[in-house]
Symmetry: C2
């Protein structure tokens, strides 16, 4: 089906549109012009008596009701320049700062066409805004100016030529209960009681904080990329993000196995037993390998995909790619061969709780999407390094503190890749083989969150499959450990550097629209049967049992019953099998949250405690851990609250949230940068099609493949080399004498 | 470490050696010359009064004690032409046929150097030899000649121009208990009692059988590759493999949901409601896709691997590849950077039990390795189709019934591939990114077993990892179903063709030699901790608990405790972490055998009932399901018997067997040929190395990558584009004024 190109949403690098008179698609990212317009609208609306500190300005996706109608018209090719379309809206997140220096975190919606603010919400102070890169920037300077910090750092002698380097990160802080605390001081060396937080009792609003993981960098080489992580300093300063005051500096335990929770030797020369751990090639302690010969991916006729603005078409797939500062890249309106599969697909949240019980490590639990924003942390990708082949890049527009737009280039890459054999069959009688390759289309973005990297990829294939892949890499978080010790809370990956045990728990948000919006989620299991004369006389039978999910709820993976989640359309039956069309996946039985259910860590991350959540669609309900995760005390308006609405989800507009993760007890091989740890979720059609959707993929040969010395070619697909295969010819002639081979 | 090339074991295509005076490596496959020599030895030893029907002749791998000593010398570069080496031995499997036509399945060992038989074993008649392709060939002719078969087939009218096509397969047959049976007859249509087997009571030796799955092929086009599977005939003939007599023809049930176990309408025109399902391009009912542009893998400087006979060296890996008619490709003496990792790695067995309880489908359970042999079923691989890039092929030598050798070309392919990013880190302060690709070396073979294909690949990577990958493809097994019906025992994937539910359960045999032969297997789990003031005051802590396996035993995957199997060397500690060096894997929590434990299916496949088996090494103990699986009644001398020896396995020469699988309830998309279903096992170093073993991989760029129209290059790795990234620059200057960025 040809697509009308009236709505390109295609940005030039200066943010202007490419087609004269073109209208941005409702799902197109805000252009620089639109961002600036929204900024103006807010400044005007707030007036001159206050300061406005902007955080983000990005597209507010239209309500599903409106957008679906428009998308349906698009698919029916009934859209013209005159077609009414959902209004372009900008979501603006900012602080209003009044004379008293109080920050009011505010969220507004601006109608682009009119340039008018149409909605405003001042966020309750119990919630904290996510942290921006600009706020992170302020941390180190704040330490530099802080008497408390200076006193703390003076307790340590850095090696000659080393400078302090601080990674600011979000903090998991509590307000009451076991953490009731008062003013901040350093730990004293004899392990006396932990010093409390600088605020009052229950109910008081907690200020917005940030913590800093401190290291020292060897600056003697003059190379700013010398790795600081091998030199962890045993202190954590905590800053009030508004006042920039360092309110507290925790001294860290550095003991080992059998040492108490707060124990550490805390010598002045606390880094002397540490070792370098360089990873940049010019500083590497060993020579680079010189025997890896190039392997190039070449597409002499160009790529097979077509891109028009945010619209991508490839091998019967048709979808749009979005991008926002929180979720990074998102897929929308995903169709295969003209049929609807998904309304929206995105990674909804992730959390990285640390399992070291020694205070203050109980505060080490980032929600990288909610606390900071994956989109803000996205790498600018590099040709031939991050992606191979013919690459199409997509940009995004981020926001400066003054609200002006800044272009972030090449944050999403699009390319094809070969993933081995797609399907094959050889008729052993004739030796005729038919084999095709599995070509995939990859939409990828990479985020850096201080030490860690995550590579996220949506992979669509020619057999109607969608794979969501996560690769964790980057640098594991380490803390200082006394010389010669080991610890049950992690692994010593470098002398004096303990890589703490932790988990990475993610949640993929799947908004299915399998042949239409109203779907039923079915849990299907394969179960053993008793032996019985009437039903299972020889005991080999097994039953496949389906349980439709009727009310919003969670459930867990069950690999030993092969539990499969099927997102079905009960109103559309497959004409061959008679069963409802569906897309399915098997939820990985990842280990879930290990933190105690009564802990703040666990309470903040309900989503991380079950594998599958089925909710009824609600506009704006996008984040598994809730809208405000930064410094949250518990999960609010995340998936747990969503299912508590106890709505009917049978044959409804539903959303499926899949939690998966990785328990990471670091190994020495993860140092200094870890080799990728890979996880995949496979969404696959199940009775959606009437045959293998890739059966029409030609079995064409890669004519560029060549033989290594010493090999010979045999058996071109389709021909039989009699000599070599005579021993494999099969069952003899068919019984009809006329058809003898 | 340079390797001496005295022992190439390199075969020319005529089986001769390539280097003058070179001696085959002890692990080198038998050459054609050696096979013929072994044949002669047996014929001579057995004499002229009997006939000898050969099955297989292949290398008998030397005992570990001898071989290890030799390999150690090799690694120390102390091997010369004079070095004593393990004797080359041929294992010969054959039937001795005497005047009375009785077949004695016999196994002998021939010493190649002397040409003398040094061992002979007449196998107990309770065991049955595996089936050869030559035996399969005889099946269709036997049907043609059988009055019983002809009577049965006459009950059906085939469509005009269709011919019967039979897939012979192994059979799961019982001798007693619930299956006590007598002479063979067809089912009568009124569902009267199942007809029994043609032999006497308990204890009598069961003849060796084979069964045939019958289909009809549309021969009208004259194309011998027209797909017969869409036309399943509801009968199964059973043949005595020695007498070639069809002893029984079972009539198959064709009913659906709510029909009885033996029900079927059994009309004469039983195929009229079936539909074609072609997959070969010239007969395809739809046009092939024309919009997929080529994607080529080009290695302009050639491959990075070096091959000398069966020795492969690549990126610090050094190992030998073997091949035998049962296991297919095997890896031996796997070292990384001069250190021992594995002694041997192979797929040990697989079984495919069907879950349709209607007789006679309880007899549908192949053990593809033990019943027939993966090596015998290996495809001859095709350049650019089965493998991309620069390919090295390996051949094998198979055996004709007269014992002569026949060369099977290109049964194993070796090539490199790119698997995305290997590791990456970006220093957000400087925007300096270091990224490397993950290059893998692939050793792959593909087997066809009648309808099914399996693609097996050993993938070694630059980060010291070994991945074993299985892809299932080919054609699902279907049986006839009455028009308009559905069934709980499978899915209708084509009109009149029910694809039965089944499982594929595999077992990987890992013989570790982690820095030496004596290893301890450790089961490691991550476990929650209670909240306690002394140990875990905030509830975020978790414990990592290790359980060394002391006695041979089985245990199961436990994903919810992140159970990880570590193959350790307790005598070798990592100098950084202080922990024993190891290689680890997380056993997949695949669904295990669904068949009832009392069923013959389950009793034959104990290996399929638990995920991990740890045994003490024993020469020749290679097959998880036991040596003789064809028509077995229970698993004998498989992993279950091995662990029953209850041996000490702590700090011993141990073997780890990992069972994994796929419960396959077919979907319509699996028809007519299924898109690959992929499973991977990841063996990864854990504290084996003192840092990321791939840290020295250069971050070289694929200069062949290009931009799709509309993109711009940004941010070459290592450079900072100030404009684009200003918003991402991080935490400000370091605190030492001398090192300001």
């Amino acid at each position: 089906m040809a697509t009308q190109n009236l709505t390109t949403g295609h940005m030039r690098s200066d943010g202007s549109e490419t087609t004269l008179g073109a209208i941005p698609h409702p799902l197109g990212q805000l252009t620089v012009t639109e961002v600036n317009l929204a900024r103006e609208a807010i400044l005007k609306a707030r007036g001159t008596t206050v300061a406005v500190h902007f955080r983000s300005i990005f597209l507010e996706e239209p309500p599903k009701k409106e957008l679906s109608q428009f998308l349906d018209l698009e698919h029916s090719e009934k859209v013209s320049l005159q077609t009414p379309r959902p209004a372009r809206r900008a979501k603006v997140q900012y602080d209003v700062v009044r004379g008293d220096k109080n920050h009011e975190y505010t969220e507004s919606c601006v109608d682009i066409a009119s340039g008018i603010e149409v909605k405003i919400r001042v966020v309750d102070k119990v919630h904290h805004a996510s942290l921006t890169t600009h706020e992170f920037k302020a941390f180190t300077e704040a330490c530099f100016a802080s008497p408390l910090y200076k006193k703390a750092i003076a307790e340590f002698d850095l090696p000659e030529g080393f400078v302090v380097t601080i990674d600011p990160v979000s903090i998991c802080a509590t307000i009451s209960g076991i953490e009731a605390e008062s003013s901040g001081l350093l730990f004293v060396q004899d392990g006396s009681q932990e010093q409390p937080w600088p605020y009052g009792g229950d109910g008081e609003i907690v200020p917005r904080y940030m913590q800093g993981l401190c290291f020292a960098r060897d600056a003697r080489s003059g190379n700013g990329d010398s790795n600081h992580y091998p030199y962890p300093l045993p202190l954590i300063p905590v800053m009030n993000t508004y006042s920039h005051e360092i309110v507290r500096v925790d001294k860290l335990a550095t003991g080992g196995k059998d040492d108490g929770l707060l124990y550490g030797t805390h010598k002045k020369n606390v880094l002397d037993h540490c070792s370098p751990g360089e990873y940049i090639p010019e500083l590497l302690s060993q020579a680079l390998r010189s025997d890896i010969r190039p392997l190039n991916v070449v597409q002499p006729e160009g790529p097979s995909f077509q891109v028009n603005g945010n619209l991508i078409e490839w091998q019967k797939w048709r979808f749009r790619v979005g991008f926002n500062p929180r979720e990074g890249a998102t897929l929308h309106d995903v169709h295969y061969d003209g049929r609807s599969v998904l309304y929206r697909l995105s990674l909804s949240e992730m959390t990285v709780p640390y399992g070291d019980p020694r205070p203050p490590f109980h505060r080490k639990q980032a929600f990288d999407f909610g606390d900071a924003g994956a989109g803000r942390a996205a790498n600018n990708l590099s040709l031939g390094c991050d992606c191979l082949g013919v690459i199409k890049y997509f940009d995004t527009v981020l926001t400066e503190p003054d609200g002006t737009a800044s272009l972030a280039k090449n944050v999403v890459c699009l390319h094809e890749q070969d993933n081995g054999i797609g399907w094959k069959h050889t008729n052993y009688r004739t030796q005729r083989a038919v084999v095709t390759r599995l070509r995939e289309l990859v939409v990828q973005f990479i985020i850096t969150l201080a030490n860690y990297e995550y590579i996220f990829a949506f992979k669509l294939d020619q057999a109607g499959g969608i794979t969501f892949e996560t690769r964790a890499t980057g640098i594991v978080s380490v803390v200082n450990i006394d010389p010669g010790k080991t610890s049950p809370w992690g692994n010593v990956v470098s002398s004096g550097a303990l890589a703490q045990n932790h988990q990475h728990i993610f949640c993929l948000r799947i908004d299915p629209a399998v042949d239409g919006q109203n779907n039923t989620i079915v849990s299907e299991e394969s179960l053993p049967m008793p032996i019985s004369k009437e039903l299972n006389p020889y005991g080999n039978g097994y039953e496949v049992r389906q349980t439709p999910i009727k009310n919003s709820q969670f459930f867990d993976a069950s690999p030993m019953t092969n539990l499969t989640v099927k997102m079905t359309n009960p109103s559309k039956l497959n004409p061959v099998s008679g069963k409802p069309v569906s897309y399915k996946f098997i939820p990985t039985a990842s280990q879930l949250m290990l933190a105690h259910p009564d802990s703040v860590m666990a309470k903040r991350a309900q989503f991380a405690q079950h594998h599958v959540w089925v909710t009824k669609y609600k506009d704006g309900e996008l984040w598994a851990g809730g809208e405000f995760t930064n410094q949250s005390q518990k999960e609010i308006d995340g998936v747990a609250d969503a299912i508590a609405r106890n709505e009917n989800v049978e044959n409804e507009d539903v959303v499926v949230w899949n939690t998966f993760g990785l328990t990471h007890n670091p190994r020495v091989e993860d140092w200094p940068v870890m080799p990728v740890e890979i996880h995949q979720i496979h969404l696959r059609p199940a009775d959606f099609f009437t045959s293998n959707p890739a059966i029409d993929v030609p079995g064409s040969k890669d004519t560029a493949s060549t033989l290594a010395p010493g090999s010979e070619v045999c058996c071109e697909s389709g021909t039989v080399q009699k000599e070599a295969s005579s021993h494999l010819q099969g069952a003899g002639p068919d019984l009809d004498p006329k058809s003898n081979l």
